[in-house]
Symmetry: C2
């Protein structure tokens, strides 16, 4: 049963977002999966992402950098080499031209960092009070890595779960900036294009599946994978990399950091040896804190966390992420 | 010299939009042209379009149909067969679920009409007062028709200018709905996917260039072509198809219908015989009012209109389209 009106929580990840997309969009369009990206023909992959982050500038990035990295990362976790980006601006009347230029410069810089070309765009302006400064929507096109066949992936008991770095940095950076929490030093977003790091990962190991843990964080991504592949996960809390500052900010906010959004991290399911993979990832600037954090089980649809003191608790999907407009 | 803030007129087509896109975006991104679409590799073409039309429902369509047809038409006028669409929703909190379903159904119907697949999407929700109901952004991917090489086109003196049907229907339908002008019968938008009609055109004649006359209408498109190809145009007012109802509504509003937006019309520059082309176009439901409306001249950068009484006046670019949020 659908709600009668759209709520903020419909857009923040979690079960409400999933149900909305499934019932209203995917069922009509007969879209194959929950994934953002899709193969468009041959070995080309495409994706689209809307960005409504608030505030539009935050330590470690801005809506321009976020838009490019978000789209680059969607393509990269689909096993594709990102090639080109198209970008649409929806701008509120009265928006400062200098900020528009600064954000557009960020778009350009992030595209250069990722090695993608901006090939086209669109610009619309709406009246004052009909947007919140600026929204950006980016589409991206990429080409699958040789030998990577997304339809042919399977995940089995005993495969390892790895993350490329500390979790929750992006969400805490944005919330600190938005709510003037005054955390010192101001936490920085992890917002970064992961395509080069993921290229190394694909060369090095038998990567079975990848996702970027954005809205809803690690837990949401693993629950979605658990559902789609009918597997379970057993995670070890002591191995999950989280900064002390993020951990204490999460406690302050009453939010579990395992549900916090990231914009420069990848979760991967890996078969076989992980030592060489982790070693190589740690040599890359975006992978210095890479860790094996758990293992795939047969307990279909369930994600468990073994805590530092040895107790085990389930990590369910949330109905909605408590932090809206984080990306 | 750029303005200090974004104005509504920056988004409505015309010179202000052109300068904004050129100075802020294209110069940074080193984008090749003003065109919405671009070749992304091999014979694949892509495009992105943001849709902020107000109201979201209007006679002849809604924002969902508009989004799909706008993107399909951008690909089709680039000489491509549209294949797939990705769609991003930015929804205002409180938006009725039934309207979301109705619009999503329109997206689906228009995609079926055009023969394209919706392959992916994204959904974001913003607080009440931070959007105007719903904005949709669509990206599209298509494949160039065999033998159509967009980089290889030239336009010369003596080529013909044709339009596929009556001009201004979309703009007047939207304005009538938005401003409660009470025109009777309520004018309907021409909003329709042109890919099948354009396929016939490409089979039949030597089409040198095509554009869909959206924001800024016929005049803006021809001025842009005149600039880009360093040619001129001489149009015959008596041959330009405009409904009487649109003509009188335009007079009422004090707007020249040659600047009104269309969402189901194509302007083409054609070399050689046009009789067979026009005959075949008129047999297609979207081409029944197709007309040759003028000819290409050597008067670089200038668009002239010969009126019904034989006088000639220049049709300049406007600084901005007087009707914002028409698409």
């Amino acid at each position: 049963m659908l709600d009668e009106i759209i709520k903020l929580s419909h857009g923040s990840g979690g079960n409400m977002t999933r149900r909305l997309i499934r019932d209203v969009m995917n069922n009509r369009f007969q879209m194959p999966s929950m994934s953002d990206s899709a193969v468009i023909g041959g070995r080309m992959v495409s994706t689209i992402d809307a960005h409504v982050v608030k505030p539009i500038f935050f330590p470690g990035g801005d809506i321009g950098r976020l838009s490019v990295t978000g789209t680059v990362n969607d393509l990269a976790v689909a096993g594709a080499i990102p090639l080109s980006i198209f970008i649409a601006y929806i701008i509120e009347e009265g928006f400062p031209m200098r900020e528009l230029e600064r954000i557009t410069e960020s778009v350009h810089q992030a595209a250069q960092e990722a090695g993608v070309k901006i090939l086209g765009g669109d610009t619309k302006v709406v009246e004052h009070g009909k947007a919140d400064g600026l929204y950006l929507v980016t589409s991206g096109i990429g080409m699958l890595h040789d030998g990577y066949a997304p339809g042919d992936r399977s995940i089995s008991e005993g495969d390892s779960v790895i993350v490329s770095g500390n979790l929750g940095d992006h969400a805490i950076a944005v919330i600190n900036a938005r709510e003037n929490l005054g955390l010192q030093p101001a936490p920085e977003s992890d917002c970064a294009p992961l395509n080069h790091l993921i290229g190394i990962m694909l060369e090095t190991a038998d990567i079975r599946f990848m996702r970027d843990p954005t809205r809803g964080g690690l837990t949401t991504v693993l629950n979605e994978i658990a559902d789609e592949f009918q597997v379970g996960f057993h995670l070890f809390e002591r191995d999950i990399p989280i900064r002390d500052s993020v951990r204490s900010a999460s406690e302050l906010l009453g939010i579990d950091p395992l549900y916090l959004a990231n914009e420069g991290r990848v979760v991967a399911i890996v078969r076989g040896d992980t030592k060489t993979l982790i070693d190589r990832m740690r040599k890359h600037p975006l992978g210095t804190d890479a860790q094996v954090i758990g293992t795939v089980t047969n307990d279909a649809g369930r994600v468990y966390l073994e805590t530092a003191i040895g107790s085990v608790r389930q990590l369910p999907m949330l109905e909605s992420d408590p932090l809206p407009r984080i990306c």
